[in-house]
Amino acid sequence: MDSIKLHYDISATDFTRAGAASGDVKRTLKALGVSPATIRNVAVAMYEGEINMVIHGGGGVIDVEITEDAIRMVLADQGPGIENVELAMKEGYSTAPDNIRALGFGAGMGLPNIKKYTDEFQLDTALGVGTTLTLKVFMK
């Protein structure tokens, strides 16, 4: 199969739309006949990343590449960057404000969840420059 490339612009202001891109990828993978377990891992990882981009990153872009053996996702924002990556990777640690918690997020599970559900996880961040997550889930 030739690789399929998908591109999404993630709005910083529209929380109600957050997750729309992940839903689209999920439906695309389903139509391609990808296994439910693989789809779930991709969907949860990308959705958490998408939510993070809206909450913390000031929006950004997501590029997805689907090949025969894996799904690669690159989520890039030009937000404030992550000050302490070690803390951000810790379950339960969150810098999300109360208004985000009221929306059901900010439990400090985002990045740990993303790592848990992906086979390859790379986090590049710089203060004042932004954060890029490069993720890979192998077809199972």
Binding site: G19, G23, K26, N41, Y47, A107, P112, N113, Y117
Partner: protein, 116 residues
């Protein structure tokens, strides 16, 4: 049990997709924190929540859930209902609180998911 059994058990009202009430469900998850719902990938058919926003539907979608039950008398807005309709999800609403709702469903045979 079937989704329609939940209606009797929780004295719930149907909000949308009454054509899918025969869907079989064995497991459920109750939470107002969507991050926590996403934290444990399990086979779960039903989401009980007191949170009302579109992310409830999106979270349920990512987890392949078939039914959302709003507890404590919470009601979704029309845009949330449309999103659920589009994603083939039944939405129910009960006046019962979270603890009571979960307890009654557990008592009737519904269980927490099995972690994979």
């Amino acid at each position: 049990m079937k989704v329609k059994d939940i209606i009797d058990i929780l004295n719930a009202e149907i909000i949308c997709r009454d054509d899918l009430l025969d869907t079989e469900v064995q497991t459920a998850c109750g939470s107002d924190m969507m991050s926590d719902v996403l934290a444990f990938v399990k086979e779960q058919g039903v989401l009980l929540t007191g949170l009302v926003n579109p992310q409830v539907v999106r979270t349920a979608e990512m987890m392949d859930m078939h039914c959302i039950v709003f507890v404590r008398g919470k009601r979704p807005s029309i845009d949330i209902i449309h999103l659920a309709e589009d994603r083939d999800m039944v939405m129910l609403a009960t006046k019962m609180e979270m603890f009571t709702s979960c307890g009654r469903l557990y008592d009737a045979g519904l269980r927490g998911g099995i972690e994979k």
